[in-house]
Every structure is written in C-alpha cells, then in structure tokens.
C-alpha cells in the first residue's frame, strides 16, 4: 500500500468482533458500527493526497461512426492532466465478461447511448466537466438497430458488430441462443393430448439495479509500475483479469482491494470505471478517483434484459400439465456482458418449478443498439417466471381451478426431473411453500370509516379517500438456480489463520469475497466460530492477495466462499489437533473445539487452545469447488447444468384505485426453503430486499428507451419503491437441508425476486379483471387510456 495519506482506510483494515454465536445465530454485522457512524468508507468516499478526478465523455447517439475526436482545446484547460482516447490505450483495446467484445474506450464506433468516447483527468470535477465540453467529436449518426425485427435481419438493418468483429458464439445480431427439448418436444401430436391450451405474449421491461452507491473507485500508481485499485465491485479477480491486458500489465502488477460497496445486485458484475481510472493513473502518474453521478450511472452499467416471451401451455381437464412451448427473446443491447449465461438460465429455468413431460424452448439474446444488458439479481429467471406464472393463472381460470391448487398439482418435488434432464436431488418443497403463504391470515380490509390516506394508493398525494379501491390477492412460485452453471468450475478460496492474541485464541478470515451488503462478512465470522470454537474473529479486507472468491452473484457466496471458509477452518482445526497428537500422543478420534478449548467427547476438556497454540500460528488456504456441472447440449438443452435449485413462493395483497389505475401493495408474504439459515436475521433481510425489487419491477421500474436513447436516467423518473410503497412482509423460512451443500444451506438472494413480481400482478388482475401481460404495470394499463 502507498505510504501517502489515504482516507477511507478504516474498513480497509481488519475488523475484529467478539461474539459467542456461530452459525444459526444472528450476530451483528462486524462492519455495522462503522456504517452507522458514517465512518465506513465506500469507494466514493476514498480520498488520496494529490488525487485527480477522472471523468468520461459519453456518446449522445445510440449508433454512430466516430469520424474524428479533437482533444486539443480540452488539453489547454488549466487543471487538466490528461485526455485519452482509444489511441492511447497501451494494451488490448477490448475486454468483456464472457465475450471479449467491448472497447475500453469507443473505437471508431459507438454502439449505445452513453458509450465512453474519451476520458479526462483533472484537479476538480468541475474542471473535468468544463474540459469535457471542449472535446470536439464528429459523429456520423447511423440508424439504430433496436427492434427484434431489425436485429434479426442484419442484411437489411445492419450489424451491431460486423461479421469481422463478431466475437460471440452465434452469428449476425444474435449473441447466444439455447434450445431445450424434452419428452416428445411440442408437436401437433403432443398438442392433441391437451384438453385446454393457453397462449400468452408477455413482456418484461428493462429494470435497473439502482444500487445506491455510485460507481466509483480510486486507482493509485505503484512504484513497481503497477496499479493499486480500490474498487467497489462483485468479483475482484475477474475485474483484474479484464483490466490488466488493457493496461499492458501482467496480472500480478494490478492489485485490487475491495472498497466499501453500496449495493450491487448484478450491476457491478461488469466493469464500469475501473479501466478508465487505471488508464488515467498510469498516464498521469497520480492517483485518480472516478465517481459517477446518478445520471452517468444509468449509462455506465448493464441493466436487466428486457424480454418478449411467447408461452403456450397445454393441460388435461384435471389440470395436469402436458406440454409447454416457449420462445424467449432477450434484448442484450450493444455488448455481450453476461448474455450467454442469462440465456442459459432463462432457457433451462423457463418451465418453472413444474413437472411437464413435453417441453420445447428457444431462448435467444440479441445484439442491438439499446443499452447493454447483463446480470441483475434473478438473471433470466425473473423474466421467465413472470411468463410462466401468468400462464398458470390463465390456465387456472380456463380450468375453473384454484390457482394455488393447480400449481401444487404440478409442482416438482425431490426426485423430479427438469426438462434439461437434471434430477432435483435435494428437497424441493414447492407445494408446501405455496401452502405456507396461502395459510397466512389475510390482512384486515380497509376500514372506510377510519381511513388513514397514507395507507391508500396515492398516499399523501391525496388521490383517494376510499372511493374506487378494490382489493386483490395473487400467488406465485419460482424456480431459481444457485451458482454458476453449464460446466463452469466456479470455485472460491479462503484463508483462515488461528493464533493467540492478547491471551485469547483469535481466528482471522481472509477471502476476496465482495461484501456488497448481503452479510457475507458476518457469516464468515460465524463459520470460523463454529468450526474453531473461538469468539474473536478478525475479517481481513478483501483483496487479490488471496485466491479468487468468485462473484457475489448467483446467490452463491455463502455456499461457495462460506464453504471455502469452512474447509480452511476445518483444515486449521485438523492441524491443531495434529499438533496436540504429536505433542501429547493423543489417540482420540472424537475431538472438537468448543469455547476456546480442545474437547474430547469421551475424555472431556484436554487443553485450552491458548496453551496448545502458544506462539504458533496456523495459517491455511483452501479452495472450495462444487460438484461438476456440464454445458447444455446445443440442440436439446440436456445436461446436469446447475449446482443447486432454490424455490420461493409469494402471496401478494394489493389495493387498486380502479378509476386512476394506482396500486398499493398491502402485504407481500414470502415462503422460502433456505436449507440452513446460517444467519436468520440476514436471511430474512435478503428475502425482503429481493421481494421489494420484484415489487419495483411489478409496478414502477423501467428504463424507457426510444430509438436506443434512454429517456429517464434519473431517480426522478426511474422510480424505485419508497417506504410508503412497500408493505409489511411476513417471511416463512423452511430449512430442509441440501445434502450436497455446506451445512445443507441453499443460496437465498435471488429466488425472492422471481415470484414477487408475478404474485403482485396476479393480485392486480384479480382486482381489475384485466389481462396485464406486461411489467411494469402502469396506470394507463389499468385505466385503458
């Protein structure tokens, strides 16, 4: 680390807490005190002596050739230290998460509204803004390729990436596609087996992660010619992997440390300002900080793929599902990002948690000049869930069946096969989860005589005093995977150190896990306490000095990095036991660590850890790999592709002002099987947070584009739920252990984002009688105007 002053170091140092609770308890976050005191340094809080401010000039066009860039006037502005374009990039010009197709700075062309065209480093953000305004860019504006029709006909409408530049694994303007065919597929013969058929065309708008902490980081040039980057991100090592080649540096010269992260939800899975800050630091020889404004943030990260889905379900008169045919088209925008994996998810999870003997699915992600889309919590399964759950309601109505009973009748359970041929080899209590939310007592109806308008649709905006309000109830259940899939060897690393400090045994846990708010740092301490019988645990800052912890996404961190911490702690424990065996000749096989002591189940307390360790420190690093998966067959989608499955069910109760089309969610109840709740308080927090993001998608959140241009890049018009929009959220947890997972746990974070949206829309349909095929539901859809 640099010897110069760097502020923000409080959470870049170790955080030590003492607590008796291991896994299963809810000890408080180790970073909680710093956060409530305002002393926890997020990436946007970092400050370094001599630091410059970096900023990017962004394209006002969605699709254009760059004819020329004249930076001469900008360079003359006092306080400007560097102006760079793609010509100044020392290493490779491209990077990318799954496909290396994205220019670090636009090269010859811009493909989306807001693509970075030049970058600047200056002594104050205002200097940078004034200098950016002096950069003259000559564009030849090209017609944007934005609709499905246009994307699928590149000969007529153009290529987003010309065939010579195309880097993905399909062709034309298709980034990726995946088919799933199971049983007899869906043919006319199969269709004839059904008594009832429902078809629907569903649409999910482009949602944004809208994490509160803006994209930001600090790049500090090091004496060895390398760069130290303090960054808010989801995966340190994969960031490094993409950054180093662009800088023309070997990976070991690019050192990343996790700075405080203000939420992520998939939006930090791709690079945002990392390369720009490093390039400017490299060029100027000074530390460079970049902080996006909220407006820039909307342009600076990937969004959730908007989707158009056509689903067809056939069932017998008794309600047994016979077949499902689905065509899912995802708009991936200008660059590939995580589109291939999103397609894999959407296709393999497109059926939902149901047993359907005959399935035919095609899922496709397109290149377009719309904003780039990639990872967002739920990752392809959110879109599919809205479609299949809407279908199930439609089917229930056709059959005259109760919508929950129809779902329970067809629900998967342990031993069921999904259409990819993978058997669910762990508990899958789908029917039970639905029953749990159904059995919850309903909230009280509105007391029209004693109304508090704050509880009505519109609240203080004073749109209703009770007139026109109709209540509706809806249900949904979703299927999500946990972990990275399709053959990716997704491992995590953890280092655990045990030594005596101040007369007490202290465990230190060091991983590269990106804590984005989910509470991983808390759980690591709990695991160390459980496995090592200590109270004091130190969490080391996350950095690239230890091996990769994989991504904080895919609901995988507790499973994978928690699992790695467990392995490393177990190894440390074994070594401690071996120390005792070699020193004291123990022959016990029943040893454990409890309350700071080595204990034999038969012989009792043998020795305190302090006495056994003495001056010795045990410091071991372990990798945790999950059981192998395989890629899905290109044509049939068959393959053991997912590590784990998880399920969540919701019941939504809404009040709708029918005349004005305004919606108030009155209650949103969730039931989820989490395998083992390592920290119940955190688990419930994750479920409520995910459910709320689903609420946002249901009734208010959408990035609105026209001809590829973003029309609402601000919190004024991209609305996320406030506390007056969110309801009470009772949560029921089931803990049915997954035998393949550490502690039997199941990843938690994403499943709630799936079923929350369709449950709310289902409730609105119940209140209004409207079909509502698109989310977010807008007032105009309800009033028909």
């Amino acid at each position: 680390m640099s010897t110069r002053t760097i502020r923000g170091e409080k959470n870049l140092q170790d955080i030590t807490t003492a607590h008796p609770d291991g896994i299963g308890g809810s000890p408080l976050r180790p970073d909680g005190t710093l956060k409530v005191k305002g002393e926890f340094a997020y990436s946007s809080d970092l400050w370094h002596e001599d630091m410059l401010w970096g900023m990017a000039l962004r394209s006002p066009h969605a699709h254009a050739k760059i004819l020329s860039i004249d930076i001469s006037e900008a360079l003359t502005q006092p306080g400007v230290y560097a102006v760079m374009t793609h010509d100044d990039i020392p290493g490779s010009k491209l990077y990318g998460l799954e496909v290396v197709d994205q220019p670090a700075i636009a090269t010859g062309k811009v493909r989306y509204h807001g693509e970075a065209v030049a970058i600047i480093a200056a002594d104050h953000p205002e200097t940078a803004r004034r200098a950016l305004a002096k950069i003259k860019v000559e564009y030849e504006v090209l017609p944007p390729i934005t609709t499905e029709e246009q994307c699928l006909d590149p000969e007529t409408y153009g290529y987003v990436h010309s065939p010579e530049e195309y880097k993905a694994h399909a062709s034309g303007n298709i980034v990726h596609q995946q088919k799933v065919v199971s049983g007899l597929g869906v043919t006319d013969e199969v269709r004839a087996l059904a008594d009832v058929v429902v078809v629907g065309d569903y649409e999910v708008g482009m949602q944004d992660q809208a994490f509160l902490g803006p994209e930001s980081g600090l790049a500090v040039p090091a004496e060895d010619g390398g760069i130290d980057l303090y960054i808010a991100t989801q995966w340190l090592h994969v960031d490094r992997q993409q950054i180093a080649p662009v800088l023309g540096l070997p990976e070991n010269k690019v050192r990343l440390t996790l700075a405080g992260v203000g939420g992520a939800f998939g939006g930090r899975e791709d690079l945002s300002m990392q390369i720009h800050a490093c390039l400017l630091a490299q060029r100027t020889g000074k530390p460079v900080k970049i902080v996006y404004s909220r407006e820039e943030s909307f342009f600076g990260h990937v969004h959730r793929h908007p989707a158009k889905m056509r689903y067809e379900h056939g069932a017998t008169r008794d309600g047994k599902l016979v077949y499902m045919d689905a065509r899912i088209v995802l708009d991936g925008g200008a660059y590939a990002s995580a589109s291939p994996a999103v397609v894999g998810n959407a296709s393999s999870l497109s059926v939902g948690p149901y047993e359907i003997p005959n399935v035919n699915v095609l899922a496709v992600a397109l290149y377009s000049n719309n904003p780039s889309c990639g990872a967002m919590r739920g990752f392809g399964a959110v879109q599919a869930c809205f479609a299949y759950e809407s279908q199930l309601d439609k089917l229930a109505a056709e059959l005259g069946m109760d919508p929950v009973e129809l779902r329970q009748l067809n629900a998967v359970s342990q031993g069921s096969y999904l259409p990819t041929g993978q058997m669910i080899d762990a508990p899958a209590p789908v029917a039970e989860l639905l029953q749990k939310v159904k059995d919850l007592p309903l909230p009280q109806p509105l007391d029209l005589a004693n109304l508090d308008i704050r509880e009505l649709p519109g609240a203080l905006s004073n749109t209703s005093h009770g007139e026109g309000i109709v209540r509706g109830v809806g249900y949904a259940v979703g299927l999500k995977n946990v972990g990275f899939s399709e053959g990716f060897d997704d491992y995590s690393t953890a280092r655990v150190r045990l030594e005596v400090i101040g007369g007490e045994p202290v465990a230190m846990v060091h991983t590269a896990m990106a804590e984005v708010g989910q509470g991983g740092v808390t759980v690591h301490g709990q695991i160390a306490r459980t496995e090592l019988g200590v109270e004091r645990v130190t969490i080391h800052p996350a950095n690239t000095e230890v091996g990769s912890a994989g991504s904080t996404s895919a609901s995988r961190q507790t499973y994978m990095t928690g699992g790695a911490v467990k392995l490393a702690a177990e190894a440390v424990r074994n070594e401690l036991f071996n120390l005792g065996r070699s020193r004291y000749g123990w022959t016990y096989n029943d040893l454990s660590l409890v309350g700071g002591k080595v204990v034999s189940a038969s012989a009792g307390v043998l020795i305190s850890m302090v006495d056994l360790l003495g001056d010795h420190a045990i410091d071991l690093t372990r990798e945790h790999h999950h059981r192998p998966t395989v890629p899905f067959d290109k044509e049939t989608g068959q393959g053991f592709g997912h590590v784990q499955y998880t399920f969540c069910a919701h019941r939504a109760v809404v009040d709708v002002d029918i005349e004005l089309g305004l919606v108030k969610v009155v209650e949103l109840a969730a039931a989820q099987d989490v395998g083992k709740a390592l920290n119940p308080l955190s688990v419930i927090g994750q479920i409520q947070g995910g459910s709320t993001q689903g609420l946002g998608l249901a009734v208010m959140e959408e990035i609105i584009t026209r001809d590829g241009k973003v029309r609402n890049p601000s919190f004024t018009d991209y609305l996320i739920p406030t506390i007056l929009d969110t309801p009470p959220q009772p949560v029921e947890i089931m803990e049915l252990a997954d035998p393949h997972a550490p502690y039997g746990l199941r990843g938690v974070g994403e499943a709630p984002t799936l079923s929350s949206t369709p449950a709310i829309v289902s409730a609105i349909r119940a209140a209004t009688g409207l079909a509502l095929m698109r989310v977010p539901v807008r007032p105009e859809h309800i009033t028909g105007t």
Binding site: T722, P779, T785
Partner: protein, 301 residues
Amino acid sequence: MEFLRPATWDEALAAKAENPSAVPISGGTDVMVELNFDRHRPAALIDLNRITELTEWQSGTYEGQEGEVVRLGSAVPYARITKELSGPLQGLAIAGNTVGSPQIRNRGSVGGNLGGASPAGDAHPALLAAGRDVFVEAASVRGTRLIAIDDFYVGVKRNSLEPDELIRAIRIPVADGPQQFSKIGTRNAMVIAVCAFGFALHPKNGTVGTGIGSAAPTPRRAVEAEEFLAGELASRNLWNSGGLIGPAAIQRFGELVSAAASPIDDVRGTAAYRRHSLAVMARRTLTWTWNEYTQSLRSAA
C-alpha cells in the same frame, strides 16, 4: 461564478438589479439540481437565506383583495405551510404536503415554485384555485408591483417577472370555503406530478376555483368548468340549500376540466391518461369539498 449573500431585502434587490442574470436561491431544491447536473452555470447566485422576513407570513387585509388575506413570505418552507396554515390556506397546505420528501419540504417554498414556473410545480394549481385575486408581490429597486396569478405564467418554465425582480411574498385570500388538491404519481411518495388538480369553493362570491398542473405548457385554470359549476350552484340555489350536486353535473364538471387541459405524452404518462385522471380528480375533489361544505352548513344550522 459569484456567490452573493445579501443581509437585507434591499441588498438583495440591489444585487439583482446589478446582476439581472443572477439566479436567486433559497431552498435550493430546484436551483441546486440544475447546478449539480451541469444544466446551468449562472454568472452569480443570490442566496436569500439571510433575509428572515421571507420566511414569515402575516394575515391582514390588503387593497384590491376582499376579506382576510395571508401574505406568505416567498421562502416559507412547505413543511411550515402545512403545519401553520392548513386552515386559512387549506388547498396550498395539502399541495405542500405532496412536494418531494420531508427533507425537501423543509426547504422548498412557494417562491421557489413560482420562480421556476415549471408546469409541474405543486403550488400552482392550489394558487390558481385559491382565487383570481391571488397576487404575487414582485419587487425590484424600482418598487413593488402585484402580478395577478392568472397573469403570472407565460410559457413553459417562464413567468412574467422582469429580470431585476424578486418575489417578496404571495398574497392569498384566506379560504372562504373548503379547498382540495390532488396529485397523480406512479409512486406513493417523492413523485413529480403526472398531473395535478387544485379545487376550491368560494361561497363568499358564489364562484369556484380550479387549477390544473402538469397537463399543459403552463399551470392553468379550467375556466369553462368553473363557469359551468358556478352556474349550476347558483341556479339551483345549492350554496344555500346544501343539496346534492348530482352525478350528471359532477360528471360534466369533470369533462370540462379534462377538456381544459393540453397534455402531452412523455415518460411519466400519456396525454390520454392525464385527461382521464384529471376528470376523476375533478369529480373527487368536488365531491370532497362539497361534502365538507354541506356538513358545515348543517352544523351551523
């Protein structure tokens, strides 16, 4: 950029006269957004926070206005209007409580709304509804003139202030009948209006007041709707009898309010939805105020 901090109103007026392009800032809830987002770089800012009389209000009688009037200092924050003036300025108090967030309401003011003259400003429909005799005190080194509210809005985000004028106060007649305000937004808090409607009954002169927001290039009155309703109430002697207005007349009132708007399609909503919801809000606010009025007649009897 200069930052000017006049200590008195006279100093403020002098500063504005010397720097006509200077932007006055009080609560900052609009001006700072423009600055933070690099939309505007005025040569100077004039901070009005030191001028305490702008945050005071008085009630009294004034020439050219009938009855008691509240002279509302232009920088009285909305939170205080809601807390201190919900009786005399009923409609404006309700409107003020829909502005932004609690934090914004601690700083934002009617003067700010008027200065910005955005068609989406929450105060405007309530000011229009409060009566044709609402006056904006526009002051300059040349003196003070009173601008009738109907003459204040001249275009999208344009008002009729001269470059050297600042708003000292707004003179609003005390409510002589029930007033309401309703705002449509796609979220339950912190929304810019998709459209808004202010309404007031004025039994003292047998008229009604309306104000439409976010559905035209400027805030505007629904003149035909006002005349229709006033005619109905008079011809059927409803002011005195407190009888039912009836669904036909309420419906007609809503239609006329809707027809008075000139809404557009934008990211927040469609023109069709705006017309539709204005009609609904017109009917509801009329119903609420008329119920309140008839109840007060009955309890007075």
